[in-house]
């Protein structure tokens, strides 16, 4: 234990420089870079031979939840915690809540959660953000499945339909609000969604479902687990869906010409390598087609192919919970512009991430976490001229101190060391050389600090401060490269990351009389160096359009929620989440040149209500969401590059509902509806969202 602490301190001794954006990597960071670059998977193997046979198990979420009567999460500090103890405003959506939501995809589940914004651009294309700042290709929300990033680094967003997962795979969706870069690194700035799936070692899931409904919806999925005795288990999941896009209505953003469809397969094998060591191997693949709104407010007909492999070994050893993991994601994207002036896009992104962490207790009151991570991320430029890549080596430390049974303090810090690289030719007339990229380095710290005070059994107060870092996407950094007769549209290597600072005060009070909870959170967040995709130009380098850091923004908001049960069969919930955003952009950067206006494109007032009832074989649930009037962004017809304008979105109320009848112990028939109040409703600056109704038959023992 001592040795690991000393080692961690040494790693933190970084090189010094007067220019923080050009710091030379320290010896430790260079060592980290070299070690992992040579053998990115080698980190996993030593644990197989070094874990001491003391006691080991990866987290058994189900058993832990049964003991403590509440979900367990490790998405806030990296160490397992009860959801009511975490130093962050966190929502955990359980499998039961997912089922009752009646949704057929993850954004459909998330739209009922307080503090989450969902922009539904097309039938299966949605962008999700936490606490405002939602936009096409929303970059500030980091999404992971069992800790594996599914956020697409090349453009900085999450392609929800291409995620290789079925709703029936999911044990819980953990929504961490605010920055959590100290645990997850770059891009965990607006929030983190970590989707935790059922573990075939502990959980028994056998589910099949089929849904059919309006918009030509046909959706089927199968999830099955197999036990390998006490030695392990396997979970196999597959699903497919097809449906039609919303009917074409007036929209300057264009409409897709293709239908939506997706298919995915994922296999997870969990094997006990000994009484104290567990190994996970996961392989996934998915394919999807859908109309999709890009960050430039242009609709593309898109096609995704994704693949991933992941190996993880976890052991409960003499030095704590040691976990080593390595994974590689491959994503291939093809986009056909629905606006003739814009080119089609094809790109391939590969990211390999290797992590090693140790979580251990010192004495009774101190939990510590030390971790190192290395990632290599690469993509060819859009015109396939050259290749952009970066490497990030990271060290992380976390200290959770239970000062008294009612007072705990958590501090986590992370240092990310980023180096950018470009190789291959550059197009004619390009004023930049590969040297511009290859000298680019960044070293950014991030932190999360929290004080949790529990003066009695019912009340929990949280005071938190955090710094998060959002990295420019690979496209922003040079992956975007389009030659046109007017000049070149390109990403550039000199962008700065977005720095997010968050300060928050929260109060939770359990209400035993109603079996529910009252929650109040007040927060203030500042964003520096906001990125805009096509905001600038560098004519001296022959670049007519480049991304730029356009200025700052700040948000102040409140989350007020209350839920409970009554008369045995009823449950309810209500939330009100007002938020005010103020933008402060540099002179010369306007909506027309940046396509960014966070202040006016975020609704100030959002109300969520839900009411559920279950008795015997019947179960029903309804959701109502109100959003006050705000503005969407439209691309004006001329000029085709830049020239965005605001368009008003009137306030609206939407209602989702599900009613289900249990035909037998195994089969359930349900009727679900989304946006039930009107056949078509304007919710974004894109296509009007349509009413959807679908019938589902589910088999689950």
């Amino acid at each position: 234990m001592d040795s690991s602490r000393i080692g961690f301190r040494r790693l933190l001794k970084v090189g010094s420089s007067t220019n923080p954006s050009r710091w030379a990597p320290s010896f430790a960071m260079r060592l980290l870079h070299r070690s992992f670059r040579l053998q990115p998977w080698a980190i996993v193997l030593p644990l197989l031979f070094t874990a001491s046979p003391v006691c080991a198990q990866s987290i058994d979420y189900g058993a832990s939840e049964q003991v403590f009567g509440e979900p367990i999460t490790s998405s806030v500090t990296g160490s397992p915690q009860r959801s009511s103890d975490v130093p962050s405003t966190t929502e955990i959506i359980t499998a039961d809540e997912i089922r009752r939501s009646g949704a057929y995809d993850i954004p459909g589940v998330l739209r009922h959660v307080a503090g989450i914004d969902v922009l539904q651009w097309h039938s299966d294309d949605a962008d999700v953000a936490v606490r405002g700042y939602d936009q096409p290709y929303s970059p500030s929300l980091l999404v992971l499945i069992d800790g594996r990033q599914v956020y697409a680094d090349y453009y900085g967003y999450t392609p929800w339909s291409a995620l290789p997962i079925e709703l029936a795979d999911i044990r819980q969706i953990e929504v961490v609000k605010g920055p959590n870069s100290a645990l997850f690194g770059f891009n965990a700035v607006g929030g983190v969604i970590n989707i935790i799936t059922f573990n075939p070692l502990y959980d028994h899931v056998n589910s099949a479902s089929f849904s059919s409904g309006t918009q030509g919806l046909a959706d089927g999925s199968i999830v099955s687990t197999f036990k390998l005795g006490d030695a392990g288990g396997v979970r196999i999941s597959a699903g497919a869906r097809s449906d039609d896009d919303f009917s074409v209505s007036e929209s300057a953003l264009g409409a897709g010409t293709q239908s939506d469809n997706r298919a995915e397969l994922n296999v997870l094998a969990v094997v006990r390598l000994g009484r104290n060591v567990v190994s996970d191997f996961e392989a996934t693949t998915s394919s999807s087609n859908e109309p999709e709104l890009s960050s430039g407010y242009i609709t593309y007909d898109t096609h995704y192919d994704t693949k991933s492999v992941k190996l993880q070994v976890a052991g409960d050893t003499a030095i704590g919970l040691v976990q080593a993991s390595a994974y590689t994601n491959w994503i291939s994207f093809q986009g056909s512009s629905t606006i003739p002036e814009f080119p089609n896009v094809q790109l391939d992104n590969q990211v390999t991430v290797t992590q090693l962490q140790d979580v251990f207790k010192v004495g009774s009151h101190h939990t510590l976490r030390a971790a190192v991570e290395y990632r290599h991320n690469t993509m060819p430029t859009l015109a396939n001229i050259g290749q952009i890549s970066y490497d990030v080596a990271s060290v992380t430390g976390m200290w959770d101190w239970t000062a008294t049974p009612s007072l705990a303090m958590t501090n986590a810090i992370r240092l990310d060391d980023f180096t950018l690289e470009r190789n291959g030719p550059v197009p004619a007339g390009y004023g930049l050389t590969n040297a511009e990229w290859n000298g680019r380095a960044l070293r950014e710290p991030s932190f999360n600090s929290g004080l949790v005070w529990r003066p009695g059994a019912a009340d929990t107060f949280r005071l938190t401060a955090a710094r998060g870092v959002q990295l420019p996407s690979l496209a922003d950094l040079g992956g975007l490269l389009v030659s046109s007769p007017l000049g070149i549209v390109s990403g550039i290597p000199t962008l700065n990351p977005v720095i997010v600072m968050n300060y928050e005060l929260g109060w939770d009070r359990t209400l035993p009389s109603t079996g529910g909870r009252f929650r109040l959170s007040v927060y203030h967040e500042t964003l520096q160096n906001i990125l805009a995709f096509e905001a600038g130009s560098d004519y001296s380098a022959g670049l007519i359009s480049i991304p730029a850091n356009i200025g700052d923004s700040e948000a102040t908001g409140l989350e007020l929620s209350l839920d409970g049960r009554f008369r045995r069969y009823w449950r309810w919930g209500a939330s009100y989440t007002p938020e005010i955003i103020r933008d402060s952009f540099e002179p010369g950067f306007t909506l027309a040149t940046t396509a960014v206006n966070d202040a006016q494109t975020t609704p100030v007032h959002v109300v969520n209500l839900n009411l559920g009832w279950a008795r015997g074989r019947w179960e029903t649930q309804g959701y109502l969401r109100y959003e006050s009037a705000f503005y969407g962004i439209e691309r004006s017809a001329e000029p085709v590059i830049n020239g965005e304008v605001l368009t008003p979105i009137p306030d609206y109320v939407s209602v989702d509902s599900r009613i289900a009848y249990k035909l037998s112990d195994r089969f359930t028939l349900s009727l679900s509806g989304q946006n039930l109040l009107s056949a078509q409703q304007l919710q974004t600056s894109g296509l009007e969202v349509e009413r959807r109704v679908f019938l589902s038959l589910q088999s689950r023992p």
Partner: protein
Amino acid sequence: MQLRQPQYCCTMIGGRVFFAWCFAMTMATAQADVTQTDVLVAARALGFLQNPPTGQIRVGIVYAADVPKSVEEADQLQRMLAGGLKVGNVDMTPVKINIDELATASVQLFLLTEYVGSDGVRVADATRAEKIPCITVDITQVQNGNCVMGVRSQPRVEIIVNRAAAAKSGTAFATVFRMLITEI
């Protein structure tokens, strides 16, 4: 260094006493008779032992025969566990044990009733001698080191483990579990 050692010890002991007092204050509002949920939480927590029991085990409900409230609670526990309690891979069969007869008890787990008072130290002796874990809802017995684990399910599940008592009885918990509970 020799002079500072006692100071350090005093600080450590003082800190632990303060911590235990704080925990007692936190739990004070939650004092109540043992409930079925308390027993279920305790039984489920056994699954997080490094060497969790499996199969049929005998649970000794330890009471003080000369304390009516202790006898009453033992009877209550006996009724709760009547017919056996199966949780996970464990099937628990209750057997009442007068605290005077601990030495002859043949059980795999002690369930200590409240109101035993200073006699709790006799459970500690048996726990150490026989390497049998002890669970109770009487948090004071955990703070005193007489019982390894204390459990309360209302108004919020609270589990407290005395590390010294656990070590002496050879009871060790999975690291994940240790991070979810209060240790003293």
